[in-house]
């Protein structure tokens, strides 16, 4: 293998760094005769997205929306049932493109801090050296790389390289998680709830660091989170997911300033108010996010949508361009049959 030089840019700034089309991932629900119950979790259905070089794409949604599955599909920890991926012009896992291993040199993931995100039996140094060594870097160079990585994330190598995960605080562990993702010098980093488990004061430190690293190393981010405020802070474009599908997609200003999908609006107004004189009076929607097993027919949001009509049960709304953003809602599609839609 090569000596781990960063992979060069191939297509120029206009070419998207990552293009995913029609991704689908269903999971069979275990149980029943012979381990098959016939039920299927439709985690991700026909999802397409593109990520431009140097941007931060935010992905928001609640539990069951499939955002973590998308993360794992993009880095091929899960194999999609259907769909294609193209990395800077090269198809992934196809005869004339790059292999999955080559994909992983360029796309890496930062996991949520948890007991299970770092191997408790390895020192920090050993954990960070694992990936470079697995790609053929000799031990001495791997050690130098570990020192460099720890420096970048603000941890003194002399102090931390020989420590074990349980000796570190949550914020420090998360810095190690980030360092691990950077070990192979990737171009795209997927952050899956990377700051969700941290205390707020530590979260701010880590967010600052993520911004710095992005500029310093020329990275592209996909930032997945349930925390709308953090996504707004970091992202250039935002993608809103519900039950395995994208319901709205656009620039962060458009999504947060003029949300068009009823679910996006509900999500944004569900944020607790920071002003005690203007507290939330009414919950934007009732009920819980439904189960991705057997989602509703047609528009998946219709069971909680205050504007649902017959057409919503019959037909699934496609993601349609409405100028500043793209929305999957019959109300925004002219001639769809919804009473609030414009005439064709």
């Amino acid at each position: 293998m090569d000596s781990l030089v960063p992979v060069e840019d191939r297509g120029g700034p206009a070419q998207p760094l990552l293009l995913a089309s029609g991704l689908r991932k269903h999971f069979a629900v275990p149980g029943g005769l012979l381990g098959r119950s016939g039920k299927v979790v439709r985690a991700v259905d026909d999802l397409s997205l593109s990520v431009a070089k140097g941007e931060t794409l935010g992905v928001v949604g609640e539990s069951g929306c499939g955002k973590s599955t998308v993360a794992r599909l993009l880095i091929r920890l899960l194999k999609p049932d259907r769909g294609t991926m193209v990395l800077d012009g090269d198809p992934v896992d196809e005869p004339h493109g790059i292999t999955v291993n080559e994909l992983r040199r360029q796309v890496q993931m930062v996991f949520q801090d948890s007991y299970a995100s770092l191997n408790p039996r390895l020192t920090i140094g050993e954990t960070l050296a694992f990936a470079p060594k697995a790609h053929g870097l000799p031990a001495a160079e791997a050690r130098a790389r570990v020192r460099d990585l720890l420096d970048k994330v603000g941890l003194d190598p002399a102090n931390y390289a020989e420590r074990y995960p349980h000796e570190l605080s949550g914020g420090q562990r998360q810095r190690v998680n980030i360092a691990r993702a950077l070990a192979l010098r990737p171009r795209l980093v997927i952050l899956d709830e990377a700051v969700s488990a941290l205390d707020k004061s530590v979260e701010a430190q880590v967010l600052n660091m993520l911004v710095d690293l992005k500029t310093e190393l020329g990275l592209t981010y996909i930032f997945i989170s349930h925390d709308l405020n953090v996504v707004q802070y970091l992202s250039d474009r935002v993608l809103v997911m519900y039950l395995g599908k994208i319901v709205e997609l656009g620039s962060v200003e458009a999504i947060y300033g003029n949300p068009q999908h009823p679910y996006t609006r509900a999500l944004l107004s569900a944020r607790p108010s920071m002003d005690p004189r203007r507290r939330t009076k009414e919950a934007p929607i009732q009920g819980d996010p439904p189960n991705p097993i057997d989602p509703p027919s047609g528009c998946r949001f219709r069971t909680r949508c205050p504007f649902a009509e017959d057409v919503c049960a019959r037909a699934e709304p496609p993601l349609a361009d409405t100028g500043a953003q793209a929305v999957a809602c019959h109300m925004r599609i002219a001639g769809s049959g919804h009473s609030r839609a414009a005439a064709p």
Binding site: Q112, A116, N119, R121, L122, T123, E162
Partner: protein, 301 residues
């Protein structure tokens, strides 16, 4: 308004210098905890004594364990020249117990070690690879699991015939399924942790991932389980010998000795129970040590 002051110095002085501590890795800490556990230490001491005396038996100046004497049969404990008496064929009990330890321990530990190697590899593979491979391996194991271990041991021994090698084989086969099952379950659990996903995402080969990330985390529970099986193995081996399916006379082996001393219960019950006492002591020591190992490993650090 903030009162300006040398904030940096004060803040720096207050931050405690982080001590570059001695290795507080997992296995060293397990070792430390084991050393502090009195029960484990005592059991380890007893076992060490038994094992060393068994290994060094020829050097201990004992009587010949095979030498029979029709006159000096069933001498009680404390007889001159025979500290623990003699058995039904006049052989010195003390010598036979010590020499018997060799075979009994061998028959206890060897099957477990072999089963650990075979069952461990199968289980870890099944757990890590998952899917159809997992199903194939585990369902085969389930077939064996359907039989109670004692019954399985007896039938295998019966089919293979008596003798030391056959007993070792049948015991190994009996222990492979449970070790495989424990290995598979622990590996499946570790496989689900994020750090294994991160290792997969780094593009390393499966073998490397198992070697570096999985083994260190699964060996502990598997070892604990395996050591608890040693006591079972000793008892099973003794039981098989007792039934005539294991070691053949005149070899000294505790289970076989129990069998041949059966008649002596009416004459000298204490004597007849001695091999049983040895089985009991060895078995319970292994068991307690296995418990101690589990406790020492059970810390979330």
């Amino acid at each position: 308004m903030a009162i300006q002051s040398p904030t940096v110095d004060i803040a720096a002085a207050l931050v405690r210098p982080t001590v570059a501590s001695a290795s507080r890795g997992y296995w060293p800490s397990v070792g430390r905890r084991l050393r502090r556990d009195p029960v484990t230490l005592v059991c380890a001491g007893i076992l060490l004594l038994i094992v060393l005396s068994s290994i060094a038996a020829p050097l201990l100046g004992l009587a010949d364990p095979y030498k029979t004497s029709m006159i000096r049969r069933l001498y009680p404990l404390g007889s001159p020249n025979h500290l623990l008496g003699t058995d039904e064929l006049g052989r010195d009990m003390f010598a036979r117990l010590i020499y018997g330890g060799r075979l009994s321990l061998f028959m206890g530990v060897t099957p477990v070690v072999c089963a650990l190697l075979i069952g461990g590899v199968l289980g870890i593979t099944a757990g890590f690879v998952g899917g159809k491979v997992n199903m194939a391996i585990m369902r085969v194991m389930d077939v064996f699991y359907a039989f109670p271990s004692v019954l399985l041991a007896i039938s295998l021994s019966g089919a293979l015939g008596a003798g030391t090698e056959n007993t070792l084989l049948s015991l190994t086969l009996v222990f492979i399924p449970p070790i495989c099952r424990v290995s598979e379950s622990v590996t499946t659990q570790v496989r689900g942790f994020d750090f294994v996903d991160a290792a997969r995402a780094s593009g390393a080969s499966a073998l490397t991932i198992v070697r570096v990330h999985v083994l260190g985390n699964v060996l502990g529970p598997i070892l604990v389980y395996a050591t608890s099986l040693i006591s079972v193995a000793i008892i099973l081996a003794a039981g098989l010998s007792f039934l005539g399916l294991g070691v053949k006379p005149p070899e000294p082996e505790w289970g076989l000795m129990l069998n041949t001393l059966r008649q002596a219960i009416y004459v000298n019950p204490v004597l007849a129970a001695l091999p049983g006492v040895m089985i009991f002591i060895t078995s319970i020591c292994f068991n307690l040590m296995s418990d101690g190992l589990r406790t020492a490993m059970d810390v979330k650090a």
